[in-house]
């Protein structure tokens, strides 16, 4: 079969330009769809990463202590907790220990902590459980004790994060599905304009024995091009937006969460691939759909 790619591309651009208003509408809708998809994707991945790192510390409960406790009181408290059923060990972490540990875990970003004037981290007791099974009963017991500022059980956090991801995933899938359908419909309408203006040609092609794929190919190229342009634009927008948010997260204010945020380069590779595939898919689907009626001669 004779396919002239360069010719077809030129022809496709010409047709897209002729219907530029619809082309812009198509490209915008694909970009918007993919951008929203990208945001949902980034949210899910990030929250999952947070949940994962929280899970690693699943078998411990962190008990933050009031600043005014004396060291005797701390030791007494430590002994009391050790006595609770299901506790395997209790380790004391001082304010400076906590800061040191944070610096280690942040590695390259540790310099961000240098700017802190006073150590904002509380001292704490890290309670190790003999089994995750005890986590709620131990929590209950420890809560009754005196001198405690706050208790952080990672189990709660993990469960919360996972339920948030689940929620985002569920609504995300519906939203994305609807948006993809809308974009496909808009591309379908755009390509229908060129198909209509070349109805005569298609009809003649059918009579001289052109196969459906021979006829479809140029229109398919047109639709796919719309999808890919949309994908390119949304990938750029996504990159700038994510870089911006990533920077923001690393300012002092959000310093506590930033360690869990996935770096832009890692994320963008997946996003770009996802966008190109889905963008091209929407374009191809829309154009094949717009030809259906005319191919049944």
């Amino acid at each position: 079969m004779m396919i002239k790619p360069v010719f077809t591309l030129k022809e496709a651009f010409k047709n897209l330009w002729r219907n530029r208003l619809m082309s812009i509408a198509s490209i915008s809708s694909v970009s918007a769809t993919l951008l929203i998809l990208g945001i949902i994707f980034a949210l899910i991945l990030n929250i999952n990463a947070m949940a994962q790192s929280a899970k690693d510390q699943f078998d411990s409960i962190q008990v933050y202590l009031r600043d005014d406790l004396s060291s005797e009181e701390v030791i007494a408290l430590q002994d009391k907790i050790k006595g609770v059923e299901g506790v395997s060990d209790v380790v004391y972490e001082s304010k400076s220990d906590a800061l040191k540990r944070m610096k280690e875990s942040w590695q390259d970003n540790a310099y961000l902590l240098e700017g802190l004037e006073s150590n904002p981290l509380p001292s704490s007791l890290i309670v190790y459980l003999s089994d995750i099974y005890y986590s709620s009963s131990v929590l209950n017991e420890v809560q009754k004790l005196d001198g405690i500022e706050e208790i952080k059980s990672y189990q709660d956090i993990v469960e919360q994060l996972l339920s948030i991801t689940e929620g985002i995933r569920k609504t995300g899938i519906i939203v994305i599905f609807v948006l993809i359908a809308i974009s496909t419909f808009i591309i379908h309408n755009t390509i229908k304009l060129t198909v209509n203006s070349r109805r005569r040609e298609i009809n003649i092609m059918k009579y001289v024995g052109a196969t459906n794929w021979f006829i479809r190919w140029p229109f398919l190229a047109e639709g796919t091009m719309l999808g890919l342009i949309g994908a390119g634009i949304s990938a750029l927008a996504m990159k700038f937006a994510y870089d911006y948010v990533f920077e923001l997260m690393h300012s002092d204010f959000y310093v506590l969460v930033s360690a869990y945020v996935i770096p832009p380069t890692d994320l963008m590779k997946d996003v770009l691939f996802l966008f190109l595939v889905i963008g091209a898919g929407i374009g191809a689907l829309g154009s094949i759909w717009s030809m259906r009626k005319y191919l049944n001669v």
Partner: protein
């Protein structure tokens, strides 16, 4: 070459356009299909092209049963059957040369062959040197010649024409008939639906007359036989 076996076509609106038609057309024949308006001539032609699916019966084209032919195979049937219409159906924004070359590109003919064959076919239909003209620069008769050239460029064994002279004056019609006769003499089977009494009477070819979807007459050397 073409064989109808008890073919019936009933359109969705209930019109019986072909009613138990059985007919056999041999290789190399020149056949006129005549009959009053609405008799089923165009439906007969569309059935050969598989543009309409018949309700019952079988149609064989070039020894192949096309009634059960898969949709995807229809293009290959169409390459065996050239078609010419009353309204020429040329692409206005393509030259004569491009209009004909287009039919060859579709079947994947190399450009080398296209450049060689298009001028040959233009000579055959009497359009020497008109390759660079656009359809609107040609007379009706010339446009119909282009359309005929396009229909036979891929050497189909069968050529079907639905009222090819319907839009032309008598002199020009005769020019077209001469072209068709030349093509027929080269071995192409020709099937032509027409309302043109004079042409049918003078050509002295086989005439199949349809009335109300049925074959009313089939004469080896026939006449038009209606008063309209």
């Amino acid at each position: 070459m073409i064989e109808f076996q008890n073919v019936t076509k009933k359109y969705d609106n209930g019109v019986l356009a072909l009613d138990r038609v059985s007919v056999k057309i041999d290789k190399g024949e020149f056949v006129f299909i005549v009959g009053p308006s609405g008799a089923g001539k165009s439906t007969f032609i569309k059935a050969v092209l598989k543009e309409v699916d018949v309700t019952s019966g079988n149609i064989a084209v070039d020894d192949m049963d096309i009634t059960k032919l898969h949709r995807r195979r229809v293009p290959y049937l169409r390459r065996k059957v050239g078609v010419v219409f009353q309204d020429f159906r040329l692409l206005p924004n393509k030259t004569v040369y491009e209009n004909i070359a287009f039919a060859m590109e579709i079947t994947g003919t190399p450009h080398r062959n296209i450049r060689k064959q298009v001028p040959m076919i233009l000579a055959l239909v009497g359009l020497n040197g008109k390759g660079n003209f656009y359809p609107n620069q040609l007379s009706g008769g010339e446009q119909q010649r282009v359309s005929i050239a396009r229909s036979i460029i891929n050497n189909p064994p069968i050529l079907i024409a639905d009222e090819p002279t319907g839009n032309l004056d008598p002199d020009t019609s005769w020019e077209i008939m001469k072209v068709l006769r030349t093509i027929n003499r080269r071995g192409t089977t020709i099937l032509m639906a027409t309302h043109d009494r004079e042409i049918v009477d003078i050509m002295k070819k086989r005439v199949i007359a349809l009335e109300n979807g049925q074959i009313a007459r089939d004469d080896k050397v026939g006449v038009y036989g209606y008063d309209d």
